[in-house]
Symmetry: C2
Subunit: 293 residues, 2 copies
């Protein structure tokens, strides 16, 4: 219950900051700003920015120093959802219980709204104060590489290409590492960098991010086949219908559940060097695993 | 003739730098990197980066300090072409005499290749050395705002929305100011900033960019109706077919030609404070106007 209150408070804080960073909804041209607001304020859980802020605090930093980096990551996450939902990609009609951006605004505007959110992410990140060990250059490179053609976009490409193919467990892992774990790890690393984490600490947080990100995606794969569209707030069973590569498809449901548990335990272990300071991060990882899957 | 040799030499220099900054074509996943190379090395004139470098030199700076900013702008320009060509936007099959990115790689990969080029632009720009008056923060904000939802993307949105509509000359100017002049002005401003230009000098270069950018777009509008697809290296007559808002459509061909000339003269006048140092910029502006229109 305490965690729920924490999540709600952080969500509000992040929403307020995003509203500050974004042009007003009626700024000219209104269509694009309405579309950006529509997707960015669609009731997302703000998981990535929350974990960025929690990491900053666990590493002795502040919300204030990390908030613009957290918001930048959320804009990138939202852009990637808008483009992933397009007919030429996953072709999804619903997201978070409402029509997807292209269903509401048309495909052209959806492509541009994604582009605009990706662009503004870098603008927002310029507000981050440098830490002694990390300058704006480090922050920018972290974001660009996490979101780039060898990480986030690589995952989406590999996912597109795997559709309808029989793929190996290694290939599936490559997709999930990049499609999901990359940006989550970037959020966590940015939080740690904003708190001036040592190289050793940053490595530990990177392992935390990668394990947590993989666990999160395995669970998402499972939920797609075990839950209804209503429970998910998006179309259920889409992965199977699109012959997507998923953990349940490659290794079966029970082994996928065991894998999710193994990865989450690995994530918890990565936090050990932080001691009591990592309490919130443990709680967040637990929260992700305890979704009913 | 001297200018042609200059352009060719600069084009080579920029291509070499872009090859250095980009992942290899066969980097995993190969599809996305092949698509990025396909569009980025399609024989573009490199007008924006060339004018960025020429501005840096005219303001007493160096190619070395400006080259990564110049390459960042070219990546943004190429991403915007890939996305503009999509079926949901301008629906163009040819670009620079070859199939457009989505025709060659499919729509999903074309969306992602555009995303990847936009992302890598910000990564490339982090290599720019700061000038006394301008830090990486200034460079990043310049790029993000020039490419963002109130400039480059605003122009594309307004252009999409104007299709088939009767629009005023003021609205047409808004489209062209943002769709074309914004990124050209950003290139020029980045060149001036890399050379540590004073605020006054930067203002003059901004006016140069805006006038030149508008002139360039008016000429493009004219060429679309006066040249063949072969001459253009892209589909001719598309603007009229798509009921696009263009200068010839709004004010007729002769008045459009006069407007192009007026704007180019304004661009030349903006360079006056730079004296003899602006010789190359005058030549470049002349070259743009002297395209046969």
């Amino acid at each position: 219950m305490e965690l729920k209150a924490y999540l709600a408070a952080r969500q509000k804080e992040i929403d307020r900051a995003l509203h500050r960073f974004l042009p007003k909804e009626n700024a000219r041209p209104a269509t694009i700003h309405r579309a950006m607001h529509y997707s960015l304020f669609a009731g997302g859980k703000r998981l990535r920015p929350i974990i960025c802020l929690a990491t900053a605090e666990a590493c002795g930093g502040s919300v204030q120093a990390a908030i613009s980096l957290a918001c930048a990551v959320e804009c990138i996450h939202t852009y990637s959802l808008i483009h992933d939902d397009l007919p030429s990609m996953d072709n999804d009609d619903f997201r978070r219980g409402r029509p997807t951006c292209h269903k509401a605004f048309g495909e052209g505007i959806a492509v541009l709204a994604g582009d605009a959110l990706l662009t503004i992410a870098f603008e927002i990140a310029t507000s981050a104060p440098p830490a002694p060990r990390y300058s704006l250059r480090h922050f920018m490179r972290e974001i660009a590489s996490g979101a780039g053609s060898r990480r986030l976009i690589a995952g989406q490409v590999a996912d597109l290409e795997a559709e309808g193919q029989a793929i190996s467990r290694a290939e599936l892992r490559y997709i999930h590492e990049n499609k999901t774990a990359a940006l989550l790890t970037t959020s966590i690393r940015l939080g740690a960098m904003s708190a001036n984490a040592s190289a050793q600490r940053l490595d530990a947080m990177t392992e935390f991010g990668e394990s947590l990100g993989l666990a999160f995606q395995v669970i998402d794969d499972i939920l797609d086949i075990t839950q209804t569209s209503e429970q998910l707030g998006k179309s259920a069973g889409k992965d199977a219908a699109a012959k997507k590569a998923t953990y349940p498809a490659v290794m079966g449901l029970e082994k996928s559940r065991a894998e999710a548990l193994r990865l989450t335990n690995k994530a918890h272990r990565a936090l050990e060097p932080l001691g009591a300071g990592a309490e919130k991060l443990h709680a967040l990882a637990g929260y992700l695993l305890q979704r009913e899957y």
